[in-house]
């Protein structure tokens, strides 16, 4: 079977990163496709693990060299999904997880409609606010901007395939794992199972 292209997205502060880490930890066969960004690393983030941290000039040269499946500018920073032979890897049967912002994920959906597009929601807007504040990396101005944008971003979730409320990491991860199991059972991915060699 061709690998699954799993795209996990959600408004800023919904906990995409933590949920993706849990999925990758629980399902070692799923490969993480590392995004590139021009934003500053947060405490604990390492270049080539969470992101490829690029300078703006370097990012622009990756664009020029056709190295991105998609890229987008979010809150003044660039984010991109490197091609990294994604197509070849899917054809080999490898499952690939992309964690992308809302805008970038929709760009991937246009190019790869067979992907599985999962939108994470916060349990409530109050909880979302607490999470963004708690991160401690926002200025009052950037916090306000993020919260305002989150409401707009959440509406875009209606264009995804699945929605998962990130109430706890465990619940969200269990639901995402069920989605992957179900997707592997789709008739459209299993046409070969209906051909029995021989017969009676």
């Amino acid at each position: 079977m061709r690998g699954l292209l799993i795209v996990i997205s959600g408004a800023s502060g919904t906990g995409k990163g933590t949920v993706c880490k849990k999925i990758l930890n629980d399902l070692p066969a799923v490969a993480y496709s590392i995004s590139a960004t021009t934003r500053e690393p947060r405490p604990g983030e390492t270049d080539g693990r969470e992101y490829y941290f690029l300078g703006r000039d370097e990012f622009k040269s990756w664009i020029a060299d056709g190295k991105f499946l998609e890229y987008a500018q979010v809150y003044g920073n660039f984010y991109g999904t490197p091609l990294n032979k994604i197509e070849e890897r899917l054809n080999r049967g490898e499952d690939i997880l992309l964690e992308i912002d809302v805008q970038g994920a929709l760009n991937v959906k246009k190019k790869c409609p067979e992907g599985i597009f999962i939108f994470l929601l916060p349990p409530s807007l109050d909880e979302l606010k607490r999470r963004i504040e708690g991160r401690g990396t926002e200025t009052p101005a950037s916090l306000e901007r993020r919260l305002k944008n989150a409401v707009a971003e959440i509406k875009i979730g209606l264009e995804y395939d699945y929605v998962v409320v990130n109430d706890t990491i465990e619940n969200a991860a269990e639901k995402i794992k069920a989605i992957l199991t179900a997707e592997r059972c789709k008739v459209s991915r299993n046409a070969d199972k209906f051909i029995f060699e021989g017969g009676f």
Copy 2:
């Protein structure tokens, strides 16, 4: 959320009944919609539990009274899905499981495309043969007819949403449960989750 209409089908002898029993046992919130049939009860089957066992004249009067969502003739016997207020129950949020033959399930799909159509496959044709023989209720003629029809029926599975190989009851039930979890996460079933009251 509206309830899920879960339709489990598969060629004769793939173990639909056993798998459905396991699902109903594991998920007590799912209600079983009992089918009606004119075939003889098998050992251990009780009227009103596995099936409503009707005489042919009684079955025909149910048809005349518009009591069926669908009905079909299979191997000389009639099988039908009683309406039993299915629509009202789904609107109340009740999940309803239908176990139907291949032909009947496709008729339901035409009327209720929002249903979840799951096709059970045997692990192999040899295994299917062993299972039908092992049932001990077939004459040589009916066995041969069932096996020949099974190959034709399996091809119809390509029109379903999901395919689950019934290698063990536990594996098949786990996959079906994952499918139900995934379906509950479909954006199309969760439009209300994208409307946050208030805002900031």
